[in-house]
Subunit: 114 residues, 2 copies
Amino acid sequence: MDICAEKCINEKKVRETVETIPQQEDIGQMVDIFKALGDPSRLKIVLALLNQEHCVCDIAVICGQTDSAISHQLRILRTMKIVKNRREGKIIYYSIDDDHVISLIHMSLNHVRH
Amino acid sequence: MDICAEKCINEKKVRETVETIPQQEDIGQMVDIFKALGDPSRLKIVLALLNQEHCVCDIAVICGQTDSAISHQLRILRTMKIVKNRREGKIIYYSIDDDHVISLIHMSLNHVRH
DNA sequence: TCTTCATTTGAACATTTGTTCATATGTTAA
DNA sequence: TTAACATATGAACAAATGTTCAAATGAAGA
């Protein structure tokens, strides 16, 4: 039951704070979102889709990257349900699928600009 | 001047969206914040400091990691001005230094729990 | 001054991550 | 069916990242 064996400076404060830390699973999910947005390629993709839906090759042009690279990143964003897609013939259109992510980005944009 | 040489599906949409993309520098700063929070160790540290200030070795106990590992991560968070510290004798207390980050975390916690 | 203790630092190492290239899938139009 | 095109996928490679270990710093008390 000892949280701090012998090393701990302030056992009471430690216990208090440990109480407030979210569950490991929640932390993991939060990390996943931040990690998803914490890459220049992916963030730029999401920023582009914030404006309107786009097909893969347009995103590639907007982001100045290979179709393949974009496709790989879109798969990650899709797996995380940050982005969704719809097919129209040969073309697949991607768009944002998560309002919370939109808020996070707006908030961070605000932060950067002040 | 050609944004899309020959590859582009919908040149008009591409131009429209390119207009809306933030400057490279802003994107870089946004990425840095998300990247800082996109690591389990660092996020847990920040979550702990959200509750109250702590010294390095208490954070280590709370997070179940080495003093050294925590110190390395704190340096990153300090460099990014997410966290600040004050010395009291031998002990150095760390605390949150950025309200925007607090908001980001609360928003992502909300996201995870709904 | 010497010792102890909290924290920091640097180098080394293992892991993770993003991009590239070549190839595969699947849809459309001929 | 075949050719052309948009997208997806897998393997390989290079680069970035987090932790560990050992050693250094700097403050307090003996």
